[in-house]
Amino acid sequence: MHGAQGQHAANQPNNLAKNTHDRELVERAQLGDTEAFGELIAAHRDKARQWAERMTQDPHMADDIVQDALIRAFLHLGSLTDSTRFLPWLHKIIRNQAAMRLRRGGPYRHEQPFTAFESVKRSSPKSGFAKGAASSNSSSVNWDDLDSILHHLSKGGRQAASVGESVHDDPAEQLLRKEMFETIHVLLHCLNRKERQIFEAYFFKQCSPETIAEMYETTTGTVYTYLHRSRRKLREAHNVNVYFQGLQPIRGGSVMTRKKQIHLPPWSREQMAANSLVDRVAQLLAALDDPRPMAQLMGLSGFAFRMKISNRTTYADGLYIYDWRQVIPQFLAKLGYEATILCGQLSGMPVPLLGAAERFPVVFPIEESVLPFIRKYIDQGMPLLYFDTLAERPYVHEWSLVYGYDDEQRVIHLTDRMSAQGKTLRYDDVTDNPLRFLVGIDGKQTNHPESTTLQANLNALHFAVQYARQGCSYSPTTVYLSYSSGLAAYERWIGFMHKDAGVMPNRYGMSQLSLVYGEAKRQAAQYLRESFIEGEPMRLLLLGAEAYDQAAEAFEQISARMPFGSSQSISASPQTELLAACSTDLSTARDFEAAAISYIEKALLLWETERI
C-alpha cells in the first residue's frame, strides 16, 4: 500500500471518531452549552482561517472574517438542522462573509466589521452591560451601525467561543453571554414579522437573497428592499436608544438625551374596572382612538366569566393565574391588534404569582433588556401594558400602562390605580421588577374578524359555559400551587369559610376577590344584555343577565362587609360570624351563576339548533 493511501486509511477511524465528536459538540452547543461551542471552534478555527485566507488572499481580512463568522455561528447554531454538517455550514458562513467583505471594495468601506472594534481598548474589564461601566466603554460602540451593536452584544460569546476558554468563572461574562440572545431579540422587535424573518434569514442563517426569495415566494429585488428597510428601521430604532446604564446615550460621539410622553385620555375612577388588565386595555384602546365598552371587553376577553380561587386559602392570587403569554395576545387579537410580549422572571429575589410566572424564562436585571422595548413603543406613540409589582397600596401588584420615558431623569411614566395623575418609576425599578411582563401593540391586524361579530360573541358565550363547567385549562405545575376555577371555585371558597376548615381565610384576598369577581358578574350581565342574538335565545340570555346581576349583588354584600382598601389590618383573620355571612352570600352567588350558565347553555343550544 502506498504510504499516503495507508495514512489516509489509517486516518479513517480517527475521522469517524472526530465527526462523531463534532456532532456531539454541535448538539450540546445547540442546547446552550457554550463550552461545547468553544471546543468546537478551537478544533476548527485554523481550518476556518485557511478557508478565509484562501478566499481573500489577505491574512488580516481573513482574521476578521473568521471572527465575524464565529459570532454568527455562535448566535445561530440552532438553525443548523443537520448536526453532522457543521463544517460545511461554517464554510458557507465564511464564504458569505468573505464575499460580503470583498464586495465592499476594501476593508470597512461602508461598515465596520465586528473586529474593527477589537483595537479599541476598554477601560473596564467588564463588558458594556455591567452596571456602572466606565464611559469609555461606550466609545467603542458605533450606535449608527448595526454590526457594531451586534458586535457589542455578542462580545462575551465571541470571547468564549473563539479561544475556547472557560469563562464561566467570571459572573459578568457569564451574565452577558446568557443575556445576549434576549437582547438581540429585543433589538429586532422594531421589525415586523416578515422583515424579521428575512433579516434573520440573511444575517443569521446566511441564506442568499435568492434562497430567501424562493423561501418567501418573492423576487430577490423584494428581498433587498426588505433588507434595506429593516436595516434602516433597526438603525432608527436603536442607534440612539441602546446605551449603557448610568451613562448618557451616545450618538455620533455627542451626548443626547431623550424623553417622550404620550397623552392618555382621561380615565375617571367611575370608568375604572376592578379587573386591572381589562381596565388597562380599555384605556390603551381609548388612547389609540378605539374606545370600547367595558362590558364588551370583559365579555370578549372572558374575564367576565373567569373565577379562580387558590386551593390554599382566600389569597387574591387566583385573580392573576392564567396563561399570560397566551391569554393576553389572544385578547388583543380578538380586538384586532397584533402584540409583542417581553417577559421573564428574575432569580435571586422573590417573584410574585409564581403560578403564572413559573415557566417564564429566567432573565437578568439588565436595563438594555427592557428599556429599548419601552422606548420603541413609546416613540411610536403606543402605550405599553406593564405588570407593576410596585403598585401603590392597598394594591400589591397590578397591570398598568407605561406612557412615557425620560432618559435624563431615568424614569418611566406609568399609570397607577391609586394615583389619578400617574406616577414614575426609576429605570432601576423597572429593570429589577422580578416579574417582567410588557406588551407592546404592533398595529392593527389585516383581515381580522370584527370583534363585535356574532361569531366572536358566540365564542365568548361558549367559553363562559366551558369555563364554568370544566374550569380553567391552565394550571401551574408547581406542586404546592393549585387552584379551583369556574363553578367549582365557589365550593372551594365556601369551604374556607367553614370554622372547621383548618385554614385561616385571608382577609385581604377576600376583599379583593369579592370586589373584582362581583364587578365581573355585573359586566357579564351587561354583556349578555347587549343583545346580539334575537328571539327566544335572547330572552334566555336576558334571564341569564338577571341571574348574573343577582350573583353580583351577593358579592357586593361581601364587599360591603370587607371593603377593599379599608384602613384596618389588611391580613387579619376575619371573624367567625363574618365568615358565616360570607359563606351564605357565596352560596347565593353560586346558585345564581349556575342558573346564569344554564340559561347561556340553553340559549346557545337553541340558537344553534334553529340554524341547522
Binding site: E24, E27, R28, L31, G32, D33, E35, A36, H168, K178, S310, R312, T313, Y315, A316, D317, Q345, L346, S347, G348, M349, P350, V351, P352, L353, L354, E358, R359, P361, V362, T389, V396, H397, P434, P476, T477, T478, V479, Y480, G502, V503, M504, N506, Y508, G509, S569, I570, S571, A572, S573
Partner: protein
C-alpha cells in the same frame, strides 16, 4: 397594663398549631399579644418587611426568604445562649439551615422522603417484601414487575409512584455520589453533567422508559389514588402522617431508599423556617415566642395528625417519636440529609419548571439525557 404586640406574618394557611402556640404563649405572658397576619408568598413578605409596619416574625414554607441579606436576625448567639440547645438541635438539618454561615431562621415543617411498600400488592404478586439495603437494580426490577396493565395497555397498578420533578430525583443522585450543583450553589458545571449524576439520572428515567414502572406524564391510569394501586411510594412525612391519621399505615412497610451503585448514604430535605426580622422592635420577646412555637410543646408531635419532624432531639424524645416504628426511621434519616439544589441556588429553583419540561421530554420523547443535563448548566 401596657400591651406589647408581636406581629407574626405567616405564609402557611394551616395555622391551627400557630394559633395554639399564640394562645398558650399569651396565657403565660399577660400583656403580650401575638398578632398573626398572612402573606401569599415571599414577594408579599418582603413588601411587608419594607413597609412602615414590618412584622417581628416571619415564616416561609421554603428557605428562599431567609437568603435575603440583612433581613433576619442571626439566631446563632440566641441559640448558643440557651444551655444545651445547640447540641439538642438535629445536626443534619442544622447544617443546611446554617449553610450561609448564619442561622436566619429556625427550621419548621421538616420533611424527608422514604419509600412505603404496600404489602397487599406484593402479596398478590407473590413477591417477598424487600429489605433495608436493597439495591437500585432490585428496586427497579420490582417497579417493573409490580406494574400491571389491562388488555388495552392501561396500567391498573404501578410499581412505583413519584412525580416527574427534578427535586424528587435528587436523593438518588446524591446516593450515587452526584449532585446538581456545586456545594456553594454557584455553578452546575461539573456537577449536573458529571458521570455520577448522569448515571443516576438515567436510572431514574429508565424506570419510566425501560422498566415502565412509573406513570409517565399524562399517561392514562386506572391505578387510582396514591394510597390505592401503587406498590411502592416515594413519600414524605406528610403522606405518611396522613396514613397514620386515617388508620391505614398498617398496610405498609417503610423502607429506606435503595442503594445506588456508588453506595453512598444521602437524602434530601424539605423545610421552611421562622425568623426574627431585623426591624423587630421586640426581638427578645419575639425569640421567646419563637422558642415556644418551634422548640416547645412536644405534645404536638405525639398527636395522630402529626405530619412533620421536630428539630430537636429532646422534642423527638419527649413526643415519643424516637420509639415510634415509623417516625424513628425518618428521624434516623435526618443524619444523612444534604442541601438540595433549590436551597443552594435561587436561580436553579426559579428554573424548576423549565427543567421539568425537559424531564417530560426525556420521559415521553426520549430526549438525549446527557445533552439535556449538560444544557441545564445554564440554570445555575
Amino acid at each position: 397594663m401596657t400591651t406589647k404586640v408581636i406581629t407574626f406574618m405567616t405564609q402557611f394557611e394551616h395555622v391551627n398549631d400557630l394559633i395554639a402556640a399564640k394562645e398558650s404563649f399569651e396565657a403565660a405572658h399577660p400583656g403580650v399579644t401575638i398578632e398573626i397576619t398572612q402573606a401569599t408568598d415571599n414577594f408579599e413578605s418582603v413588601r411587608a418587611y419594607n413597609s412602615d409596619n414590618p412584622p417581628d416574625l416571619m415564616d416561609s414554607g421554603g428557605w428562599g426568604l431567609f437568603k435575603n441579606k440583612n433581613m433576619f436576625v442571626d439566631l446563632t448567639s440566641l441559640v448558643d445562649a440557651e444551655a444545651g440547645l445547640a447540641d439538642d438541635l438535629q445536626p443534619g438539618l442544622m447544617q443546611i439551615a446554617r449553610m450561609d454561615g448564619s442561622l436566619p431562621a429556625l427550621p419548621v415543617d421538616v420533611s424527608i422522603p422514604l419509600i412505603l411498600i404496600k404489602k397487599q400488592l406484593f402479596d398478590e404478586a407473590g413477591i417477598p417484601y424487600p429489605h433495608e439495603g436493597w439495591t437500585w437494580s432490585e428496586f427497579a426490577e420490582l417497579a417493573g414487575k409490580l406494574t400491571l396493565r389491562n388488555e388495552e395497555g392501561v396500567a391498573t397498578q404501578f410499581g412505583f409512584a413519584t412525580a416527574p420533578d427534578i427535586e424528587m430525583y435528587e436523593p438518588f443522585i446524591m446516593r450515587n455520589g452526584g449532585s446538581y450543583l456545586s456545594p456553594d450553589g454557584k455553578t452546575a458545571h461539573g456537577y449536573i453533567d458529571s458521570e455520577a449524576t448522569i448515571e443516576a439520572f438515567r436510572s431514574v428515567i429508565d424506570l419510566y422508559r425501560v422498566q415502565g414502572g412509573i406513570r409517565k406524564p399524562d399517561e392514562p391510569s386506572e391505578a387510582g389514588e396514591l394510597h390505592q394501586q401503587f406498590a411502592m411510594v416515594f413519600t414524605f412525612t406528610w403522606f405518611v402522617g396522613g396514613c397514620i391519621h386515617h388508620g391505614i399505615i398498617d398496610q405498609y412497610e417503610l423502607l429506606g431508599l435503595p442503594q445506588m451503585p456508588a453506595g453512598q448514604p444521602g437524602n434530601m430535605l424539605y423545610m421552611g423556617g421562622v425568623g426574627i426580622t431585623q426591624k423587630s422592635k421586640e426581638p427578645e420577646l419575639a425569640w421567646q415566642f419563637l422558642r415556644h412555637y418551634v422548640l416547645g410543646r412536644p405534645e404536638r408531635f405525639a398527636q395522630s395528625d402529626t405530619r412533620t419532624l421536630p428539630i430537636t432531639r429532646s422534642l423527638a424524645e419527649q413526643s415519643g417519636m424516637t420509639s415510634h416504628p415509623i417516625w424513628s426511621h425518618y428521624l434516623k434519616e435526618l443524619d444523612h440529609v444534604r442541601a438540595s439544589g433549590f436551597y443552594l441556588s435561587e436561580k436553579w429553583n426559579s428554573s424548576r419548571q423549565l427543567i421539568n419540561e425537559d424531564i417530560k421530554r426525556m420521559i415521553v420523547d426520549g430526549a438525549d439525557l446527557a445533552q439535556t443535563l449538560k444544557s441545564w448548566t445554564r440554570f445555575a
